[in-house]
């Protein structure tokens, strides 16, 4: 396949080189705010506020944000809260999504389209439409400020997406393999474990990653249902905005730290993630 001439435009060398240059310019411009923030995180507060670089680069701000003053949310506790909530919710999402996708893709139930549409339609429902009952009952049951309430909600946020994606990866498992396992009388659990999972594993990993990204970055529920005790990373970043004194360098360091895990993971799995997203709808 001759990818270089695919769209037919730019048969000439100069045009091809020009378009490559344009891609570089566009890419660098798009990333500029991020690059600038990372650079700022290594500056002193005076330099950051003036957008200059007179005092050189330093790791000082990273030290500042790691030390917590008493009474404020510390990096350690925000990180622990985020980690627990994200990991537990993602594991439960997969435990619910994999059998469901089996019934939607491999041994399909009649009317599987309607069931799939139901799952997707829960994403159409604005969060605000269900937040007050959740808030009222969370208050009633003393769940405000606990890991439980966030885990329960993050499962609900990610489950439809996970079913959509894993279903598309299950569709790619050759039918003959499954039929052979069925003839041998293999149970659902063993079919999943020994036939389907090994083939769909990369796709499932990408699905899990997308769930992790959405849960890690979630701010609204965490803000509403989680004062102080179980605050997660997004709230910790916002807590670095101060009304007194300069904070830009510290805020930049906090932003960098908070986003780094998910950005690295996303870079590693970019291709598969999007394939799962687009296949889910188009197959």
């Amino acid at each position: 396949m001759r990818r270089g001439t695919k769209l037919g435009v730019g048969q000439h060398r100069a045009v091809v080189a020009g378009l490559g240059m344009l891609a570089w310019v566009v890419g660098l411009l798009w990333i500029f705010p991020v690059a600038w923030t990372v650079l700022t995180s290594f500056k002193t507060e005076q330099d950051a506020a003036a957008q200059t670089l007179n005092q050189g680069l330093t790791f000082g701000r990273y030290g500042d944000i790691a030390r917590s003053t008493t009474g404020t949310l510390s990096l350690q506790s925000a990180f622990t809260n985020s980690l627990v909530v994200v990991v537990v919710s993602t594991i439960i999402v997969l435990l619910l999504a994999l059998p469901a996708s089996y019934a939607l893709a491999i041994r399909r139930i009649p009317k599987w389209r309607d069931v799939l549409f139901f799952f997707i339609s829960t994403k159409f429902l604005p969060v605000v439409a269900s937040i007050f009952p959740i808030y009222v009952y969370a208050q009633k049951w003393n769940l405000i400020g606990t890991w439980t309430v966030l885990i329960v909600l993050y499962i609900a946020i990610n489950l439809p997406l996970a079913i959509w994606m894993t279903r598309s990866f299950f569709m790619e498992v050759p039918r003959e393999l499954i039929e052979a396992a069925e003839i041998d009388g293999t149970s659902l659990f063993n079919q999943l474990r020994s036939v389907i999972l090994p083939i769909a594993a990369p796709g499932i990993a990408a699905t899990a990653l997308l769930c992790v990204i959405f849960a890690w970055n979630e701010y609204f529920y965490a803000l509403q249902l989680n004062f102080a005790n179980a605050s997660t990373m997004p709230q910790w970043v916002v807590s670095n905005v101060s009304t007194r004194g300069n904070f830009l360098a510290k805020l930049s360091a906090a932003s960098t730290i908070a986003c780094l895990p998910v950005v690295l993971a996303g870079w590693a799995a970019q291709k598969r993630m999007i394939r799962g997203l687009s296949m889910g709808a188009l197959k």
Binding site: K6, T40, R108, T122, A156, M233, S255, G266
Partner: protein, 305 residues
């Protein structure tokens, strides 16, 4: 096997042996289905109930009123509320602008990145980064680093070329928020469109090439129709998330005439300060119904295509 044939085969199998299939097939689906019903549908039903009452948060008012049924009063009030209408209009503008712009720019980027050049993978990696950032961080970066009149890079640049500084966020709240949304969602659209471009059968393009079709003709008559379902998918997924934008508004403007969209409006009416759960439930029910109607018609089209 086509989907219809598969369904027919399933139906036949079920009729063949009455005990085994039907419910055993459905069983693996039950936990996920029950979970979603419990967490998303039950609260919605409770919201409908609230919407017919004057429920308020008792701890937030000095003289608590008893909760009682008010019939359709909350719904009647919706249509005479100018602030709600303004929020609806802002929501429409924000969503349409952000989805269309990110889709157009994302498609252009995808076309640019689809051809081989030095550093292709590296540039793609750079471009997707904004999508991976926390929405809160993206909003803070733009607010504090780019738009700020105190330390903003954009105003420093304007100053440098001798122009007057601009109070981006206070003078153009909607534009500022849309900028951040487009910045974050363009990479997502780009990746979907790249998946579309990669899936294009190359033999047809080569045949067109041999036939001497012009590059623009190939793009318009072959590539664009092929990309259509991908464009629709991007629009659908983008709308689902962008219509609910909250973080950027909360961080950048904290609401206001130009930037309060419907979710933020309902938030302010309820847990964000108003604590009028009864009337804000009615708002929520109205938008939920509208959103469901609109998006499900989109989704059904998508499935047919």
């Amino acid at each position: 096997m086509t989907a219809a044939a598969a369904d027919a085969a399933l139906a036949k199998g079920k009729a063949g042996d009455p005990f085994s299939s039907a419910w055993r097939r459905r069983l693996p689906l039950v936990p996920a289905l029950l979970y979603m019903v419990a967490i998303t549908q039950l609260p919605f039903v409770v919201s409908i109930y609230y919407s017919f009452t004057n429920l308020k948060d008792k701890t937030q008012s000095l003289i608590p009123e008893p909760t009682k049924f008010v019939g359709f009063d909350n719904y009647k009030q919706i249509f005479s509320d100018p602030f709600f209408r303004q929020a609806m209009w802002t929501s429409v503008k924000m969503t349409v602008l952000a989805v269309v712009l990110s889709l157009v720019i994302g498609t252009l980027f995808a076309i640019l990145l689809d051809r081989k050049f030095l550093g292709q993978g590296f540039i793609r990696t750079l471009l997707i980064t904004p999508f991976l950032l926390m929405p809160v961080v993206a909003a803070l970066i733009w607010k504090q680093q780019m738009f700020s009149s105190l330390f903003g890079v954009l105003n420093k640049a304007l100053e440098f070329v001798g122009l007057n500084s601009v109070a981006f966020i206070s003078d153009h709240p909607l534009g500022s928020i849309v900028t951040v949304l487009v910045w974050q969602w363009t990479p997502f659209m780009m990746l979907i469109m790249l998946a579309g471009l990669h899936s294009q059968p190359s033999d047809i393009l080569e045949a067109a090439d041999v036939d001497g079709a012009t590059s623009f003709g190939v793009f318009r008559q072959l590539t664009l129709p092929h990309l259509r379902p991908y464009l629709e998918l991007g629009a659908l997924l983008g709308s689902i998330y962008i219509v609910q934008a909250f973080d950027a508004i909360d961080v950048m403007t904290g609401g206001g005439p130009g930037s309060t969209n419907v979710p933020y409006f309902v938030y302010q009416e309820s847990i964000g300060g108003g604590f009028r759960y009864g009337s804000s439930s009615a708002y929520a029910i109205v938008i939920a119904t509208l959103a469901l109607r609109l998006l499900s018609s989109l989704f059904r089209d998508e499935q047919r295509a």
